[in-house]
């Protein structure tokens, strides 16, 4: 049982329905908890487990939940699952959503119970229509089985769960833009404070967690905090869905202990680079994380270790840059995405990212000019720091650019000097 998240998932395995899920210990945690453990007990368990958010920021989940006002409160509280997963190169939540939807539902019931939320939403990426369909079917099954709705399993606890498909914007994954979007408003992030725990969906206390984060709750409740901590082999607790894409032999997604060395993921699980390609760099946790380079291969995939190396673990799904792909072209492509996905609320991101894209486009197409790199650096500094912009989208967008300019400076210079992309493509 060291692969709790994917115990029902694997190559050749069919998606689980309620029967299959229950057959493999499914909903036992719910049965053991509702009406039997107090909210505070479960919260302590989650705090003790050292679970950190799997949506990218790695915020300790128990601490996040502890800000929700408890006791007698009038009105609803909400639990929202962030299943937007639009980060380029990230496809880990999809696995669970499509193949083991009940795992998420059980995790949400337990999480909602802990913060005493009575309504849950799964905010799901527009393109995940297969997942949305399976989730809706699973929710219906759970409802029929008395696991959702009023007085769940006779415990007196009520929880309604709904699936909401996004209209398709990357920024909807930012938790407060997500809430605005759920409310039917423009998907612009909100200023924090106030945090959603205090004023979230429709102004009510709300917790937003990533799919993978919520799924972990079931296993923590079922097997305990110590067991969970023991799963990690480095500083962090639990397992993680890691992934790799790019010119590796075996791109994919694997559940591995937290702290697994990057080299192991790349070489053992992803099968190493495709023949004829060499590793030039990689984004460790999706498009909005800083490049790391081969010298970082022996780092463990732990939040702090990656942070120290100047990047972020993000979603834990790596994008591999090989030696035959132009880093400028890759960054240009990413910045096109980020510029296009800006919500348009704050100036540095809205105006600054398109400019960055335009400059990168010039450089890549051989139209770069002396001074462009200084301009990129200046714009990067302007946009890139948390706090300079209204939300983390823009700083995230600058991470791959700034790090590419650091590690692949020669590539940038050659483009400008040679007035052409030196790569063959």
């Amino acid at each position: 049982m060291d692969r709790p998240l994917t115990k029902n998932i694997g190559p050749g395995k069919a998606p689980t329905d309620l029967t299959a899920y229950v057959a493999n210990e499914g909903y036992e945690a719910v049965r053991a908890t509702l009406g039997k453990l107090s909210c505070a007990d479960v919260l302590d368990l989650v705090k003790d487990s050292n679970l950190r958010g799997r949506g990218g920021a790695g915020f300790p989940t128990g601490m996040k939940w502890s800000f929700v006002p408890m006791g007698e409160t009038e009105g609803h509280k909400y639990l929202v699952c962030n299943a937007d997963e639009m980060e380029p190169g990230t496809f880990k939540d999809r696995l669970i959503l499509e193949y083991d939807p009940h795992q998420l539902i059980e995790g949400m019931i337990l999480s909602a119970y802990t913060i005493n939320a009575d309504i849950g939403y799964i905010f799901i990426r527009a393109e995940y229509h297969v997942a949305a369909k399976r989730l809706k079917e699973a929710i219906e099954e759970a409802r029929q089985a008395g696991l959702l709705g009023q007085n769940i399993l006779g415990s007196g606890y009520n929880f309604e769960l709904f699936v909401h498909s996004s209209a398709g914007r990357y920024i909807c994954g930012e938790e407060t833009a997500l809430l605005n979007s759920l409310e039917g408003k423009r998907a612009t992030p909100r200023a924090k404070p106030p945090f959603p725990q205090v004023s979230g969906l429709w102004g009510r206390p709300t917790i937003v967690n990533n799919v993978e984060t919520l799924c972990n709750i079931t296993h923590i409740v079922a097997h305990g905090a110590d067991w969970f901590k023991g799963l990690g082999i480095g500083d962090d607790a639990g397992t993680k869905l890691f992934g790799a894409s790019g010119r590796v032999r075996n791109p994919g997604c694997w559940e591995l202990p937290m702290g697994t060395p990057i080299r192991e993921i790349l070489e053992e699980y992803a099968g190493g680079m495709q023949p004829g390609y060499e590793l030039k760099g990689f984004l460790p946790g999706g498009a909005s994380t800083d490049f790391l380079v081969p010298e970082h291969l022996d780092l463990p995939m732990d939040y702090d270790a990656i942070m120290k190396a100047g990047s972020r673990m993000g979603t834990g799904t790596m994008i591999i840059l090989d030696d035959r792909t132009c880093p400028v072209a890759m960054v240009r492509n990413l910045e096109m995405f980020f510029a296009r996905e800006s919500c348009g609320f704050c100036t540095p991101c809205r105006e600054g990212l398109p400019w960055i894209f335009q400059i990168l486009d010039d450089i890549e197409e051989g139209r770069g000019q002396p001074g462009d790199l200084e301009l990129l650096t200046r714009q990067g500094n302007f946009i890139g720091a948390i706090g300079n912009t209204h939300c983390a989208h823009a700083p995230g967008a600058i991470e791959p650019l700034a790090s590419a300019m650091k590690y692949f400076e020669a590539d940038f210079n050659r483009h400008i000097e040679e007035k052409a992309c030196p790569y063959d493509h």
Binding site: R190, S199, F345, P348, F382, N388
Partner: protein, 900 residues
């Protein structure tokens, strides 16, 4: 207060305020776009960035938005450091990427906040070598132009339009660098306060079309501090002229009244000033029945004779003429022959209002209205009759949300956060009116017959305190107890009523509610909105409304009697007069039956004093010298007095006020409403033109190279030139607002005692009334509600006010006559939708197409107040279906008009 450090300097600032506001209040310069003193902070533009240090040791600090950062004891900031100022420069550089460099042809140029802030940040060089984003502009109606390419995406417009003004048809569309601010399709911006977008937008996206039609830069305008005459609220405006024409109305900040915002009637309703129907010459009706233009001298000497010889002279003043004009008319004809020219109902409502003002019941200012936490509206159609008040009430409705936020530790200026938390929570605003109200969306509406509204009011007062009489009938449709309970539990309850339904009984009921409340809570407030800009001033001078004598001479000053009195009896009255003299600015029904007409100035070219709903006397200054034969009514009347040997001691405007104050001690304050003609600021008069208007004297150089003398203003302390002071002048005299580096109206920051507070040296105007008169409990009018259909006046912000209703842009927004009722009432009258009603008694009046609206109470025939419908209110007689009526051609769809 909290002590903070800014660039090494220790400052005392109000604890919990945001840093931007605190620094601006201290007179410091810090650029901003999305923050607005009345709309708070959202952190969109990032222009107001500063660096905050964690502690003394912190050398790096981090960028924070000053508008989003509360100040607290010991916090440390840097404005001036390179990190902060470099960041702010980058913000402007990035805003400018897509902003067209069209300042020379942009209407905002010269008073543009974006220009000012750009200069303030020091950004200069352009490094961007790509194409700018462009947009397609929209047709937004006759008031507002649209130039989207100039947008810097600060979100102020949507925040103002949707969140502040409650509009629904302006939104932000699309995302990233393609955000578009406009309507979902071309069409008229519906909101009655849309015009404020012109000033809210920091660039030239939303422009004033009434100005565009004859555009002039701020620097070339000749302006004066004027008072809007669109209703009884007395909003402060800046009226601006060039080449003898009024060019625009801009908001003039007043801390107690309009603040930063006007209604669209006030902002765009001035075009009548330049209208073809303006009277420009004295006219005398000849034996052919036609008017002949005459020299003023000739006309005056004729009048000297006829007035001298007349057996009796009646003077009919008006609620829209200044105090000075009304008072001199009274001097001319004698107190017993002076009439207000108001309808009986309005006169009674004015008396009620005066009684309330003199009592201990509080009459809140518009700013104080924003602090109300429960509002009861009895009958008054605020949006259409006293529009700016509706905007204040809308803000009051937000208090419940701000209160929630406060409990959650969210400061009130965190605008988005407050709104997210509060969602649809509103402080209760009970809207008891006869027809749909624009505040219904935030209020608790109940539709009742006006008589039932009065009964409900009396019943509420009785429930609050049984010393107040119960009415004989209590309307069953409404939960009296719930309203009384809500008012009782409020900290700042407010009762609002007015003359729009034309029912003194409703006003009396409102007075009882306020008085009953006041016994529980001294903070309780009452607002009574009369109709005219000087209704209260005029009613202070007389109780009489209209002469019941026949024959003799009558002088009517700035009053179209047909608004208030039945046409037939007016014609009868006129036919028995020896002579009817009218003084007015625009042709109207009364002028056309007069024997002599004399051209009077408007608020834009004449000076006078008006008393608003709260009893505030305010002086309105003319922006420019009137046409040669035109004069303010008070000047004509003074001449007539002198010719009759009266008022010889009065020579100037100031003398009129002194005489008025001597005769009416209660009105003593009028003298101080603004400094008199003798006032000098640092030894100088105050200028009407900006210091940059130096080309002004050469304006007519194409006709003659001789520089004309600038006309002298003997009546006020303002000059008709750029000579004189501005920045140091008292607020009541300031013709425009400007401070170094601040060319737009946002320079007002520099002249307030605190941000969005009072103007330094006091907001203009003098509250006239004390609070020492004992309030008399009002008794309900006798009789139960009529059970036969009655005509109910329906006010329209555009069209119901007679003068503004003449302007081209307002005409385009005015409704056509109609009559609205529910199908039950239609059944009683045997009409249906698609048919029309007319009156058997009235000739020459339009038939009224029937609109069926089931929300209208039984027996209510809701009819718009328009020049064409006046007769229906005075003496409708029998209403019958008009068999010969054909629906008119559908009105021109202005949506297809793309002219600018």
């Amino acid at each position: 207060m909290a002590k903070i450090t800014v660039d090494g300097q220790l400052l005392d600032v109000p604890d919990g305020q945001n840093l931007l506001e605190a620094l601006l209040a201290l007179g410091m310069d810090l650029p901003y776009f999305c923050w607005h003193p009345k709309m708070g902070s959202v952190g969109a533009c990032r222009q107001c960035a500063v660096v905050q240090y964690a502690n003394e040791e912190d050398q790096r600090g981090r960028i924070v938005m000053s508008c989003m950062t509360p100040v607290a004891e010991g916090t440390i900031f840097s404005l001036a450091g390179e990190k902060a100022s470099g960041f702010r420069e980058s913000v402007v550089e990035n805003l400018m990427l897509n902003h067209p460099h069209d300042c020379p042809v942009c209407e905002e140029g010269g008073e543009c906040h974006l220009q000012d802030m750009t200069v303030m940040t020091g950004h200069r060089d352009r490094n961007y070598r790509y194409l700018k984003t462009t947009f397609t502009n929209q047709y937004l109606g006759p008031f507002i132009g649209h130039e989207m390419n100039r947008c810097i995406t600060c979100y102020r417009c949507v925040r103002y339009y949707q969140d502040y003004a409650g509009g629904h048809d302006l939104a932000a569309f699309a995302s990233r660098d393609r955000v578009f601010f406009g309507r979902s399709e071309d069409g008229v911006l519906e909101n009655e306060f849309a015009g404020n977008l012109v000033e809210v937008c920091p660039t030239g996206v939303f422009t004033d079309k009434t100005l565009s039609a004859h555009y002039t830069r701020k620097w070339d305008l000749e302006s004066a501090p004027a008072i809007c005459v669109g209703c009884s609220l007395g909003c402060n405006v800046t009226a601006s002229e060039r080449y003898g024409e009024l060019r625009r109305i801009h908001n003039r900040y007043h801390g107690d009244l309009n603040g930063y915002f006007l209604c669209d009637r006030g902002r765009f309703g001035w075009q009548y000033v330049n209208d073809d129907k303006r009277l420009t010459h004295c006219g005398v009706r000849t034996s052919t029945g036609l008017y002949q233009a005459s020299q003023p001298k000739t006309v005056l000497s004729g009048l000297k004779e006829s007035l001298g010889a007349a057996t009796s002279v009646a003077g009919i003043g008006s609620p829209r003429a200044s105090l000075e004009a009304n008072y001199l008319l009274r001097l001319l004809v004698g107190p017993d022959n002076f009439y207000s020219g108001e309808s009986e109902a309005n006169a009674e409502i004015n008396r009620c209002a005066l009684q309330a003002l003199r009592s201990s019941i509080r009459t809140p200012s518009l700013t104080e209205v924003e602090a109300a936490d429960v509002v009861l509206i009895l009958g008054e159609d605020t949006t259409d009759h006293a529009p700016r008040l509706a905007l204040s009430i809308r803000q009051a409705a937000g208090n419940a949300g701000r209160e929630m936020a406060l409990r959650a530790g969210i400061p009130h200026w965190q605008d988005a956060a407050v709104r997210k938390l509060a969602q649809n929570v509103h402080s209760p605003v009970f809207v008891l009116t006869t027809y749909a109200d624009r505040l219904d969306d935030i209020g608790i509406p109940t539709r009742l017959h006006p008589d039932a509204i009065a009964e409900a009011g009396f019943a509420i007062a009785h429930t609050l305190n049984d010393e107040f009489p119960n009415p004989t009938n209590i309307p069953g449709e409404i939960d009296i107890g719930a309203i009384a309970a809500a008012l009782s539990s409020a900290k700042n309850p407010l009762v609002v009523t007015g003359s729009s339904p034309g029912s003194p009984n409703i006003v009396r009921a409102a007075m009882n509610v306020a008085a009953a409340l006041q016994r529980q809570n001294p903070a309780a407030g009452l607002i009574i909105c009369p109709t005219g800009p000087n209704s209260l001033g005029t009613s202070l001078l007389t109780d009489r409304t209209f002469p019941n004598t026949t024959g003799g001479v009558a002088i009517v000053v700035e009053n179209d009697l047909f608004e208030n009195f039945p046409g037939e009896s007016l014609q009868q009255w006129q036919s028995e007069l020896d002579q009817l003299i009218t003084l007015d600015s625009l042709d109207n029904g009364t002028c056309s039956m007069a024997h002599v007409v004399m051209p009077a100035t408007t608020f834009a070219d004449g000076t006078g004093t008006y008393v608003n709903y709260e009893g505030r006397a305010q002086r309105s200054f003319g922006a420019f010298k009137p046409g040669e034969d035109t004069a303010p009514s008070w000047q004509w009347l003074l001449q007539l007095c002198h010719d009759q040997g009266k008022a010889l001691e009065i020579k100037h405007l100031d003398d009129v006020l002194t005489a008025l104050a001597n005769e009416f001690p209660e009105l003593r304050g009028v003298i101080d409403a603004a400094p008199g003609a003798g006032f000098r600021d640092h030894g100088q008069k105050v200028s009407r033109m900006t210091h940059r208007a130096s080309g002004r004297t050469a304006m007519l150089a194409d006709l003659s190279v001789h520089e004309p003398m600038q006309p002298a203003d003997t009546e006020t302390s303002l000059t008709y030139s750029m000579e004189g002071t501005n920045a140091s002048a008292p607020a009541a005299l300031k013709s425009y607002t400007w401070a170094p580096g601040w060319n737009s109206n946002q320079s007002i920051n520099k002249f307030q005692d605190e941000i969005a507070g009072h103007l330094r040296g006091g907001d203009p105007g003098i509250l006239l009334f004390g609070d020492d008169q004992v309030f008399a409990v009002q008794t309900p009018a006798e009789g139960s509600p009529t059970d036969s259909p009655t005509i109910i006046p329906r006010w329209h912000i555009f069209g119901s006010e007679a003068l503004t209703g003449q302007g081209e842009a307002i005409v385009a927004r005015s409704p056509r006559p109609y009559i609205q009722m529910n199908s039950h009432t239609a059944g009683l009258l045997n009409v249906a939708a698609g048919q029309a009603l007319h009156s058997e008694n009235l000739a020459d009046v339009p038939s009224l197409p029937v609109i069926i609206d089931e929300g209208t109470p039984d027996n209510c025939l809701v009819c718009p107040v328009l020049p064409g419908t006046y007769s229906y209110f005075h003496n409708p007689g029998n209403l019958k279906p008009d068999a010969s009526w054909q629906p008119a051609e559908p009105p021109d769809l202005i949506t297809t008009d793309r002219s600018t």
